[in-house]
C-alpha cells in the first residue's frame, strides 16, 4: 500500500523508526510533504530537512517540497528541490500559503516543475481552491502531473471528477472523503487516475495505517482496491504500475 498524502509535522521521526512502523502496517511507501508553513524562509528549510529524511530510502519515502510563490527565487527553488534535493515534486496549499491559483509566479513554477519531471500536489478544498481552478492550470501544462490532493473535499468531489474527466494530467487523491464519495470517485474515474492518502502527519503511523485500512470499508471491488493502493500510485510516482 502507498499513502500518497502524508506530511511532516514538527520534528521528523528517525527514518528507521518510520520504516519499521510501515513494515508492521504493510505500507510500501509514503509520500511526505514538507512542513506546512506560509513563511517563505521556512519553505526552503522544510525542503532541506525533508530531503535529508527521505534520502534514507527513496524507494519508500517520497518527498514533496514547496516554494514561496511570493519570493523571487521560486523557480530556482523548484529546480533545486527536484534536481538537487531529489524531491519528487512540490505541494501547494494556496489558502494556507496566502496565495491563489492565479499567482503570476505559479506558471513559471509549473513550467520548471514539468521540465524537471516533478509532480504538483495541490490542496484543493472548495471554495478556497477549486478542482476546476487546478484543472485549468493543469491544462496549461499538459506534461505536468497534477494531483488534486483533497479530491475537492466533501463538497467538491463531484467537481474533481468532472475536472479529471476532461483533463488527462489531473490525478485524484482521495483524502478525507466520506466513504460514499470515495467509492463513487474510485468507481467513476478513468483507470489509473485515483490514489489515496491519509492526510495525516507521517509520524502518526497508527493513524496512517488505519486510514489505509479504512479503504476496505468503502465497498469497492478488489481490483479497484489494488489499483488504488498499489498500482496507480506506483505509476504516478515511478512510471510503472508493476
Amino acid at each position: 500500500m502507498i499513502d500518497f498524502h502524508t506530511r511532516a509535522s514538527g520534528v521528523l521521526p528517525e527514518a528507521s523508526e518510520l520504516l519499521a512502523a510501515m513494515d508492521a502496517a504493510g505500507i510500501e511507501a509514503v509520500v511526505v510533504q514538507s512542513v506546512h508553513s506560509s513563511k517563505s524562509t521556512d519553505g526552503q528549510k522544510g525542503n532541506d530537512e525533508l530531503a535529508a529524511f527521505v534520502m534514507t530510502d527513496r524507494s519508500r519515502m517520497v518527498g514533496l517540497g514547496t516554494v514561496h510563490l511570493g519570493g523571487s527565487g521560486a523557480v530556482d527553488d523548484t529546480r533545486w528541490a527536484v534536481n538537487e534535493l531529489g524531491l519528487a515534486g512540490l505541494w501547494l496549499d494556496p489558502a494556507r500559503q496566502g496565495t491563489t491559483m492565479h499567482d503570476p509566479m505559479l506558471g513559471a513554477v509549473c513550467e520548471t516543475l514539468a521540465e524537471c519531471g516533478g509532480i504538483l500536489l495541490v490542496h484543493d478544498a472548495v471554495p478556497a481552491t477549486s478542482p476546476g481552478q487546478v484543472a485549468e492550470l493543469a491544462r496549461r501544462f499538459p506534461q505536468l502531473r497534477v494531483v488534486l490532493g483533497c479530491c475537492g473535499g466533501p463538497d467538491g468531489w463531484r467537481e474533481a471528477l468532472a475536472a479529471a474527466a476532461v483533463t488527462d494530467n489531473v490525478h485524484l487523491c482521495v483524502n478525507g472523503l466520506p466513504a460514499y464519495a470515495a467509492r463513487h470517485v474510485v468507481e467513476a474515474a478513468a483507470p489509473g487516475r485515483v490514489v489515496v492518502g491519509s492526510g495525516l502527519p507521517v509520524t502518526d503511523s497508527a493513524g496512517v495505517a488505519a486510514a489505509l485500512a479504512a479503504v476496505d470499508d468503502w465497498g469497492i471491488d478488489s481490483s479497484l482496491r489494488e489499483n488504488l493502493l498499489v498500482h496507480n500510485p506506483r505509476a504516478l510516482l515511478w512510471g510503472s504500475a508493476g
Binding site: H102, V126, P127, S130, P131, G132, Q133, A135, E136, R139, D155, R158, E159, L161, A162, A163, V166
Partner: protein, 251 residues
C-alpha cells in the same frame, strides 16, 4: 446630431418579495423608463425559486405578457423535483418563458451531482439559454466544466467575481457568457476582445444592485461603441429565442 443609443436589455431581474429586498412590476417598468432600458428578462423571487415555482413562473410570464413586449421571463424549477421540474418548465414554456434560470445556492444542489442535467437537456431541446447565479455553489470554473458538456446550450454566469477565473472559464467553455455585475470581471473580460465582443451581457441584477449604477458602469466602460452595444443588448439578444406571439398578444 445625437448618436443613436444602443438598445439596452437587462439580462436578469428578480421580481417579487425576497428576504431583504423586493421589486414589483410597476416599479421595474418605471425604472426601466427612467434609465432607458428597453427590455428586461425577469425571474421569480427567491421563495418561488425554491419552494413555489408554479406561482413564480405564472407571475413572471403574466407580467411579461402584459408588458407589451418589454419583459421576458426566465423559467425556474427546483432540480430536486425530478420529473415534476420538467413538467413545470414545459408549462412555463407554454406561458412564454424564454430560458431557464437556476440558483444552486438557493436551490441546494451541486452543479455536478446530476440533478440539473435533465433540465439542461430540456433547455437544449427548446433552444433556451440558461442563467446560473454564480457564487460559492457555482464558481466560474465549476460551471465551465458543466457548460462544456452541453456545447449547444448558451450559459450565462451571473454575479461572478474573481475575474481571472471568469476569463479562464469562458475560454474553456465557448458557450459560456458572463454578466457585468463585477467591475473587475467587466475589465478583465473586456481586455480580451474575443470574449468581450460577444460574450459579455449587461445585467442590473435588480433589486439586489442599483440598476442606474450598473448601467452607468457599462456606459462608461472604455470599450468601443460596437462592443458596448453588444454588451448592452445585442449579445443577449443573440442568446434568447426570437420573440413570438405571447398569450397577451393573442388576447
Amino acid at each position: 446630431m445625437t448618436a443613436m443609443m444602443p438598445k439596452v436589455i437587462d439580462a436578469h431581474v428578480r421580481l417579487g418579495a425576497g428576504r431583504e429586498v423586493s421589486l414589483e412590476t410597476a416599479a421595474l417598468l418605471g425604472a426601466m423608463d427612467e434609465l432607458g432600458i428597453e427590455h428586461a428578462v425577469i425571474a421569480p423571487g427567491e421563495r418561488c425559486t425554491v419552494l413555489d415555482e408554479p406561482a413564480g413562473n405564472t407571475a413572471t410570464t403574466t407580467a411579461a405578457g402584459e408588458s407589451a413586449g418589454r419583459l421576458r421571463a426566465w423559467a425556474v424549477a427546483n432540480p430536486w423535483r425530478g420529473r415534476d421540474a420538467l413538467v413545470e418548465l414545459a408549462r412555463a414554456a407554454e406561458l412564454g418563458a424564454v430560458g431557464l434560470a437556476v440558483d444552486p445556492q438557493l436551490q441546494g444542489f451541486d452543479l455536478h451531482d446530476g440533478l440539473l442535467d435533465p433540465l439542461l437537456e430540456l433547455a437544449d431541446d427548446r433552444d433556451w439559454p440558461v442563467y446560473v447565479r454564480g457564487g460559492v455553489a457555482a464558481a466560474p470554473l465549476t460551471l465551465a466544466l458543466l457548460a462544456a458538456r452541453y456545447p449547444d446550450v448558451p450559459f450565462l454566469l451571473g454575479g461572478a467575481r474573481h475575474p481571472a477565473d471568469v476569463v479562464a472559464a469562458m475560454r474553456h467553455a465557448p458557450n459560456l457568457s458572463a454578466d457585468t455585475t463585477s467591475s473587475a470581471v467587466l475589465d478583465a473580460v473586456a481586455a480580451d476582445p474575443d470574449l468581450a465582443n460577444a460574450r459579455l451581457v449587461f445585467t442590473s441584477d435588480s433589486p439586489y444592485r442599483v440598476a442606474g449604477a450598473e448601467l452607468a458602469r457599462v456606459r462608461e466602460w472604455a470599450g468601443d461603441d460596437p462592443s458596448r452595444a453588444g454588451v448592452l443588448g445585442a449579445n443577449l439578444d443573440a442568446l434568447l429565442p426570437a420573440p413570438t406571439s405571447t398569450p397577451a398578444d393573442l388576447t
